[in-house]
């Protein structure tokens, strides 16, 4: 290990850990090593088998076992044993085999120290509050331990995010905030696991952990299934793009914009996920239309139009059979996606359809198509605002504009990512702006 590559923050934390262990060992009582080893081993195993949700900071079940250990040790062996035991069990929580194998020593040092110090703080808080009132060891002291753990844990993560990942404390806090209820939930569970241990002995642990391990395995399979489902949706998107290569990346962009709107409108994570799937699939109707008609340069004959319409009907029939696609029906059918003033709905299905319609139009305007070059973002925003309230849902329009401006992103002429090169250069303005009608040169100039 190259010590010079260890940053100062991690060295300071590790030193603090060893000082804390020394003080706890000298000042406090010796914990029972068998119980300590049992809990440390379980915490280590739990942490290394944890199923992590993608891109989120979570509070793991290891924390639950730490609180359980503190409860058991304080009750059965005296509060003087708690601080040292908590420090050592916390250190076990910070040891991740995967990170050790990757030889990311500074992360190893940080995890090891911050979990140990958080856990040690929990032990100290428990010892300090235990006996403060009759029955305090049952609820009050463990809750104090949970709070102390959360405060130290978060207090160390905030500067670490800034130092190592250039992430502002506010941004780190925003990541952590959704996980705060987990501290309470796992903390309460930890108290209960501890009480079960005290009631039934060590036998309680495997009885609790067997169902937990099976639930964990099922959850892991669930995550695998979600990945497979994402891939299946991706097959749809590829198929749509294979059918109409001039709209490459359109579905993904519409999905991204739709999530922007959903976030602005405070959709729940589950609603956001649903909205993303629906937006990815909003062009599914194209798959039912023969390629010859989809890419026909001129107007469709009445018979051809009938074919398109009937295929669309079948497509809608299919969509209604798939739970998560049902909300794409308005977008796919093009019947109800457009906002109608005075007939506004506020249910989630309608909001999804309104959001997708706005995003579809915005991406159509800011992408180069065979019939028209990409418009600038300013023109597209102006067009959306112009039709807001008559054709588009006003809140969705403002949410999209606000989200894009907040992120400082730019789309449209000069900022296109997937530029398709056409044999005949498309005109600067023209028809077909996602149902917006003809855009004239004057409109663009005046926007």
């Amino acid at each position: 290990m190259n010590l010079r590559r260890l940053p100062a923050f991690e060295i300071a934390l590790t030193s603090l850990f060893f000082v804390a262990v020394a003080i706890a060992a000298l000042a406090g009582g010796r914990p029972p090593w068998a119980v300590l080893a049992l809990f440390a081993g379980l915490v280590f195993a739990t942490e290394n088998a944890a199923v992590m949700m993608p891109s989120s900071i979570t509070v793991s079940p290891g924390f639950m076992l730490e609180i359980a250990a503190v409860t058991v040790l304080a009750d059965a062996y005296g509060t003087s044993t708690v601080a040292l035991a908590a420090l050592l069990i916390g250190a076990a929580e910070g040891l991740r085999v995967k990170i050790l194998r990757q030889r990311r020593w500074s992360l190893v040092a940080f995890n090891f120290s911050q979990f140990a110090l958080s856990s040690g703080a929990a032990g100290l808080a428990f010892s300090a509050t235990n006996g403060a009132a009759p029955g305090a060891s049952v609820v009050f002291a463990p809750l104090a331990a949970v709070c102390a753990y959360a405060v130290v844990n978060i207090g160390l993560l905030l500067p670490y995010g800034e130092l190592r990942y250039d992430q502002s404390p506010r941004a780190t806090w925003n990541d952590i905030r959704p996980a705060l209820p987990n501290f309470v939930a796992f903390g309460l569970l930890g108290i209960l696991v501890g009480r079960m241990y005290l009631e039934l002995g060590a036998l309680a642990l495997p009885l609790i952990l067997v169902p937990a391990a099976i639930a964990r395995a099922t959850f892991s399979s669930y995550l695998d299934l979600r990945r497979a489902h994402d891939a299946a949706v991706s097959v749809f998107v590829r198929a749509i793009e294979a059918k109409d290569r001039y709209t490459a990346g359109h579905s993904e962009r519409v999905a991204k914009f739709a999530v922007y709107i959903g976030e602005e409108m405070a959709f729940t994570p589950a609603q956001l996920e649903h909205l993303r799937y629906a937006a990815l699939m909003h062009d599914i109707g194209k798959l039912a239309v023969p390629s010859s008609l989809l890419n026909k340069p001129g107007k469709l004959t009445p018979e051809e139009y009938d074919v398109v319409r009937r295929h669309n009907d079948v497509c809608i029939d299919i969509l209604t059979r798939v739970d998560f696609l049902r909300s794409t029906v308005p977008a796919a059918s093009d019947k109800h996606a457009h906002f109608a003033a005075g007939d506004e709905r506020d249910d989630i299905e309608a909001l999804e359809a309104y959001a997708i319609a706005v995003c579809d139009a915005f991406d159509a305007m800011t992408s180069t198509r065979s019939y028209r070059k990409a418009l600038s973002q300013t023109v597209a925003f102006a067009e959306l605002r112009d039709k807001s309230g008559s054709q588009f849902h006003p809140a969705s329009v403002e949410a999209l504009i606000r989200a894009i401006e907040k992120r400082g992103e730019h789309y449209g002429d000069g900022f296109e990512e997937d530029v398709e090169h056409f044999a005949v250069a498309p005109p600067v303005v023209g028809v077909g702006s996602a149902g917006l009608g003809d855009l004239l040169v004057e409109d663009v100039a005046s926007a």
Binding site: L203, P211, L225, A231, K243, P290, E303, I318
Partner: protein
């Protein structure tokens, strides 16, 4: 027993009855009642007479709740199996109570755990021996659920006071995790089905071909005893083997056949680029090579070709088998054709039920195809 005791036991029975109607869905089909754990725990906690009263109340409640939901979950046989399972648990509990040390004494917890396992084994054995099990039942999937049920039963049986509420939590977490998985699986399967229908909607493949092929492939996979995971791959590959049609330009399309290497290659490419299960992409790609013949490919080839020949007319089944026999001569998949023949001959409704599965589209589909044909005829004229 006082009237209050009886009332409490009846109420407890009602609670047990509700848990009997909650079923833990196994990943690849089949389910196990969550109430097994509660029955085992109650058998351990109570003496025989109160246990009988609780069971009577539980069964009544389960039948009423199940009936009110309008589901056909509890047949007469299920009720009989439940009664026998409860009787086995009750009798095992009587034997256990004779040997159990006093609560709180040394070794009580260990002895109790063994006792709960004995009661659980008696109850579960009856259920496994006499209960209904679907074709998709898998011991590998069921074993962890039984382990979770018996662990939870032990916790509930041994806990007292307010800890009793917490003791049920692991059981609830197990049930919830399987429910969540089952819901995700339903969505996934619907997506695969919808994906398989796309080339049919676009008129590249006969309507219902994917679903019918999947039905034949599933039956063949079960008949040749493929493991559940491979069985599932065969069914997904059967549904998606023609998805590549959408990527093949109209002018290059030849005929809707599984041997169309262009479509198979395009399908595999779409599946691979999308990061879909690599096993499925490999399977679909292997279909492009006419000489590649393993058991799974043979199932896919035979199922798809059989549907190409039979379509929606079950009376063509025998003729189709004769044609396949001729094609299979000297090839590795002749055994699969024999298996298919035995399935057709043993079950008179085999082809009809596959056709029913392959009819997910409404009259709109037929109308769409008629309109397409009219335009095509007009263009030719």
């Amino acid at each position: 027993m006082s009237a209050t005791d009886v009332s409490l036991l009846v109420a407890l029975g009602a609670l047990v009855g509700v848990t009997l109607t909650l079923r833990i869905q196994l990943p690849r089909g089949g389910s196990i009642p969550m109430g097994h754990a509660v029955v085992i725990a109650v058998a351990f906690q109570l003496s025989f007479a109160p246990f009988v009263l609780v069971c009577a109340s539980a069964l009544t409640t389960a039948l009423v709740v199940s009936g009110a939901r309008g589901r056909n979950e509890w047949s007469g046989r299920d009720a009989v199996v439940a009664v026998l399972g409860m009787a086995a648990a009750g009798l095992a509990a009587v034997a256990v109570h004779r040997h159990l040390p006093v609560r709180g004494s040394d070794g009580w917890a260990q002895a109790s755990l063994l006792g709960v396992m004995a009661i659980g084994s008696a109850h579960v054995t009856v259920d496994l021996a006499l209960g209904r099990r679907s074709a998709a039942w898998s011991w590998r999937a069921a074993a962890p659920v039984y382990a979770a049920l018996i662990s939870s039963a032990a916790l509930i049986a041994m806990a007292t006071g307010w800890l009793l509420v917490f003791a049920a939590l692991p059981l609830m977490i197990t049930w919830y995790s399987f429910e969540r998985y089952a819901a995700a699986r339903r969505t996934y399967e619907q997506t695969i089905q919808a994906l398989g229908i796309v080339p049919e909607l676009a008129g590249h493949v006969a309507i219902g071909h994917g679903e019918r092929t999947a039905a034949y492939a599933r039956a063949l996979a079960i008949a040749v005893e493929l493991p559940p995971e491979r069985r599932e791959h065969v069914v997904i590959a059967a549904r998606l083997h023609h998805v590549g049609h959408v990527a093949v330009p109209d002018c290059e399309e030849t005929r809707p056949s599984i041997e169309d290497s262009l479509v198979a290659t395009a399908s595999a490419k779409i599946l691979r680029v999308s990061g879909f299960l690599p096993e499925i992409a490999d399977l679909v790609e292997a279909l492009a090579a006419p000489d590649a013949d393993d058991a799974i490919l043979a199932i896919l080839r035979v199922a798809s070709a059989f549907d190409d020949l039979v379509g929606e007319a079950p009376d063509r089944a025998r003729g189709a088998l004769a044609i396949l026999d001729g094609r299979a001569e000297g090839r590795a998949w002749s055994r699969v054709v024999d298996t298919l023949r035995s399935l057709v001959e043993t079950d008179a409704a085999f082809v009809e039920s596959a056709i029913a599965e392959g009819a997910p589209l409404t009259a709109a589909a037929a109308a769409a195809h008629t309109a397409r044909a009219t335009v095509a005829a007009g263009a030719t004229a």
